[in-house]
Symmetry: C2
């Protein structure tokens, strides 16, 4: 009886593969935390910027040579919204998860300065806005009792698992606060969880600190499942990589396709020294903070290389998709990272937390064996919610239902047919420089994605204790070359900052650093984009900050006087 | 290519099942912590003792009715030695893991009283003995770099996994200290790990305490992987059960045989109130401590019932073996448990930590669908190292190699053929009472196990800060009805305790409570058993306490003057 049942079971496992004849590649999603667009030796821009020259990331270069660089990949300004978008396929504005989730339940992270993630918003308020209503506890997987302030979603990982994938979580989770089902990777469809919790950062990267599991260090960010390395002279990035490699052995031995979500805590704060790589950066003349941060980047790069080596050694490199991405822009507002504050994402403006490009434009590469043209660049913008349908297409999952609407589009045609299209153009001599490669457009007829489709980013929050106009209470739409920034603070009488007007307009092609506000020249474009942004925010019932003085929310941008 | 590979993969998964045509049942190993032989309404003894009447464990009764009660199951006096024996098949004396492992590396647990598992042995020494040399960091899985003071073993769980089992760890691990590979269940062959670490107890059982994950509570015993329940009014036993049930869904849906190691932290200290069950025990007239402890037992009982319900609901109860056991005797030396100290295991003498029966005789039941005769009792003694070959036989794993010697014997014939033998005898009217059932002997010719095979327990340690002759520095051999207790303290001139002689002799059949020392009547038996114990200790190079005054180890018992 048992034998027959088990045989049937194995056939059941086979059936989805045999039925459609679909290929089910392994998939590694390699997600880096707080990692800026120019913070690698892979130059995503039209040129190699000075910031690129501060890093040596040979394994990222190796991936770039094998796969496709997505020069205009976007993420949300902070971690949780990107991660919940990846998991749900919903835009973060739509899911009302526009800020990071606190470690503890029911504690809004808006302008948090307390210990252990305790919210101290009321005390530290700007006095201008109350925090908006948003889903402060994050995302909840379908099938669980969702607490208040939580969006429910059918998880992409569960769909992959149910299609036969061996699903592995290693690293940072951060979809939801503790005390909610979303805080456990197991509830999202992962079969294995190493180190994924409610925390959005590690208390320490150092094995000698037990990764924070010491009485004098502990808070909820102490990394779990790492007892094996306590006291060892090892950096968390390395330890997580070793755990991932060990875990891969099982599905590889059983030839079960795997989905590895390798979500490094690095390069999030605390900025700590990865001793293996620190001295080479000091020798380059970097300051201690810069060298510390660069050493963390180098550790991530080695991790990527170790995974690629593993795939080659096991003979499965040609069966394994690699997606490389960062969850938001680089942190440009932390002293421990060294350098000149607010320049870390240069030539992009600002960094993490901001709707300026430094906060949302992120590194991304995709390698699909035999499908992506090696060493190509794709300039069509991509957003986190695209990854949901992308992963399912890669996994051959065609018929599925979700409780949530899917706002993204699969980028599989973009990176496969699109990159082949680019490669052909290059062979025809139409692309002869990095600059030309970064300006080459793949038409929607080839990629399935309109290169000018509007992208929406919305941060109706105050990120840190001190208000900063470059980061806080901004909303934006990008459509083609144009970008509108809605400065919500400037809608409040007497609170005007910056140019004192609520709209800034930039031409990103001409002005990658968003230095030249074109709003005065092009009121028509301002009006067009304000209407586009307003309509979408309204359609998604977007959360807006509430003006303390009036008790009214900030108006949607198309409610302001426009041309 | 991929399709073909994956098809081959699935066939590879099938092959061990198809090849031998062997049945591979699911296996649940349900291990309870610090849970005494009489602490349930299942009466393992010849009669129902008063202590049995203090508990109501209907699901344990349900399992007893379905399966076999092992009335003479033994474990080591403390946790780690039993757990490492289960994992390795080695007797704890043989592996030199005779005490529990500290949470931190390289800190002997002998007479520990410090915070966070910090050893304070030197200060708290008895002044008589130095601690023996033993493997203070516990057990290390084969294939990893073993630190000093660690025994290496091929893990039974890995062998099961490699044979096709989906291996799940839920609860307490405690095979090794942090900073060693043995502290991570993943390294033992578990595919899933929930809450297993270096810790041997939970910092708190309460969800409202975040299971210890609060700044004011935290130490390394704070339970990991439970973020989902932080702040909830839930007891750890219930939360772990829910996690186990969720995890079972995957192998059940895929009809992959599973091995669930459901190792509850309960009923270890801290003795906390499981509110669901507390009041019924208070109403029985128990004191608060007793009612708290009983409520923890009731929670474990419900967990067992929930698992059995799950199996029935999914239609796999007839495909699932259940092994129920405790890891050592009940704690009889903790105020928070209430009652009269040192009576908790009555009629057995003493409790956890001791080589008297209260420390080592434990509850055990086995159910093998269609194989074990329902409602029977087996009196042949069983020891933890027997479980290694037992699990492999149950899992149909025949050809395997281990780096370590296997000291145990499979009890599958004992509980299958043996229980059928008992059932037949009962049908013939040869067993008409519980007392008769507890005295009925299954011959080795039926069970494969000599009912008189000698059993060795050895605790060359001081358990707590204050020396107690009933617990510390004892060594023992049981052979048939006779038991020799070697009181090592009495080998040291001027340090005599108890009767002042190094040997005590008990007839367990006549004197379950070890009240009547027969050493003076039966010097022949003392000599016989001392030689047996000495020879085995010598063969295993057993660790002995070292006499401070002389710098010499305590002699093996056959080195003393004997008749």
């Amino acid at each position: 009886m048992q034998t027959r049942k088990t045989a049937l079971a194995a056939l059941a496992l086979l059936s989805p593969i045999l039925a459609g004849g679909a290929k089910r590649p392994n998939i590694i999603f390699f997600l880096v935390d707080d990692y800026g667009w120019p913070e690698s030796s892979v130059a995503y821009g039209e040129e190699v910027y000075p910031r690129n020259r501060q890093f040596h990331t040979p394994n990222m270069e190796r991936l770039a040579e094998k796969g496709v660089i997505l020069t205009q990949a976007y993420a949300c300004p902070v971690s949780t919204p990107t991660r919940t978008s990846l998991m749900s396929g919903m835009n973060a504005v739509h899911s009302h998860i526009t800020n990071w989730t606190s470690m503890a339940k029911d504690e809004p992270s808006d302008a948090v300065g307390g210990k252990n993630g305790a919210a101290v918003y009321e005390e530290l308020d700007t006095d201008v806005f109350r925090r908006p209503e948003w889903n402060i506890n994050g995302l909840c997987p379908e099938g669980f009792a969702a607490p208040a302030d939580v969006q429910v979603a059918t998880p992409v990982v569960r769909l992959l698992r149910d299609a036969g994938y061996y699903t592995i979580h290693v690293g940072k989770a951060h979809w939801a606060s503790a005390g909610t089902p979303g805080s456990s990777p197991y509830n999202w469809g992962f079969l294995v969880n190493i180190a994924g919790t409610n925390a959005g950062l590690p208390k320490s990267y150092l094995g000698t600190d037990n990764f924070g599991n010491k009485p004098e260090l502990w808070n909820m960010a102490a990394v779990q499942n790492m007892t094996e390395y306590y006291g060892d002279d090892i950096f968390l990035t390395e330890a997580l990589t070793r755990e991932a490699l060990k875990t891969l052995d099982y599905p590889v031995a059983h030839r079960q396709p795997f989905y590895l979500y390798m979500a490094h805590y690095a390069t999030h704060t605390p900025v700590q020294k990865d001793k293996r790589f620190f001295s080479e950066y000091k020798e380059m003349g970097l300051d201690n903070g810069e060298a510390r941060f660069s050493s963390m980047v180098a550790g991530v790069d080695k991790s990527l290389g170790d995974l690629m080596d593993y795939l080659e050694e096991r003979g499965i490199a040609d069966d394994t998709v690699i997606i490389f991405m960062a969850d938001n822009g680089g942190n440009a507002d932390v002293k421990s990272k060294g350098g000149v504050p607010h320049t870390q994402c240069a030539p992009l403006r600002e960094g993490k937390g901001s709707c300026y490009q430094g906060g949302i434009r992120v590194p991304m590469m995709v390698y699909i064996p035999g499908k992506t043209a090696p060493g190509t660049r794709i300039n069509t913008p991509v957003v986190p919610e695209d990854l949901f349908p992308t992963l399912l297409e890669l996994g051959g999952v065609k018929a599925y239902q979700t409780t949530q609407p899917i706002d993204g589009q699969s980028i599989v045609p973009l990176v496969t047919r699109g990159s082949q299209y680019v490669a052909k153009a290059a062979r025809r001599g139409e692309i002869t420089s990095q600059k030309e490669a970064n300006r080459f457009e793949v038409p929607a007829s080839v990629s399935g994605i309109d290169p000018d489709r509007p992208l929406f980013f919305h941060y109706p929050h105050q990120w840190k204790v001190e208000y900063r106009q470059e980061v806080d209470f901004l909303s934006t739409v990008i459509a083609g070359d144009w970008k509108l920034v809605y400065v919500m603070m400037n809608t409040v009488p007497g609170q005007h900052v910056a140019d004192g007007v609520p709209f800034e307009l930039y031409n990103l092609r001409e002005d990658i650093g968003e230095k030249h506000n074109r709003a005065a020249d092009r009121p028509d474009k301002v009006a067009e984009l304000a209407r586009l942004l307003g309509a979408r925010l309204r359609a998604w019932n977007a959360s807006m900050p509430v003006v303390r003085a009036t008790g009214k929310p900030v108006p949607y941008p198309d409610e302001l006087p426009l041309q």
